[in-house]
Subunit: 111 residues, 2 copies
Amino acid sequence: MGRGRVVLERIENKINRQVTFSKRRSGLLKKAFELCVLCDAEVALIIFSSRGKLFQYSSTTDINKIIERYRQCRYSKPQAGNSLGHNESQNLYQDYLKLKAKYESLDRKQR
Amino acid sequence: MGRGRVVLERIENKINRQVTFSKRRSGLLKKAFELCVLCDAEVALIIFSSRGKLFQYSSTTDINKIIERYRQCRYSKPQAGNSLGHNESQNLYQDYLKLKAKYESLDRKQR
DNA sequence: TCAGCTATGTATAAATA
DNA sequence: TTATTTATACATAGCTG
């Protein structure tokens, strides 16, 4: 876009890199928003600049909801690569949540 | 883009909505990737379609790294006191084991 | 569904103020 | 710097096969 074809590599000039970051970041956030509205999707977008500044977009009030949903979805998978031994439920994250609930329940009793 | 101006509201026609979702999703993922490469940024992008299918992009091998960095940044404190969050190890399985140990310890005390 | 096509609207790199 | 402008490249809505 703009003048000249985009070469896909790190922009070495620091000024240009920052300007481009600023423009493309806002473009990306806008497009994320549009995708949500137009297509009824749920989107979470986290961006860190090279200097560590945080930007984010979330289609829900709480981005953590989407992250949790992501984890449910991700770790519910058969975990082909993860041979750490959750062979029965095949679901480490579910196990984790169950255990957490048990722990908290026991903790309450304890007090 | 394309023929006719985009109206920013949910696309009611289901077929059109799915087609648009597919196209814009790939566009969004591409732009996220480009932002990372061109501007040396770190990006995590999670998308759920309206029917619950998951798509994601991450500039690092493990998207959880970015999520954790986000939490560190967002909630400021490293959350040292809360060993139930996945804040430090960034490793669900490690967390699971730690929690299991705590649970068992508490359980023993209880008896 | 699933790719191409293409006319048109957008995003944005570079220039300018 | 930062904001605005402009020229161009890019993305994509509606089609078509």
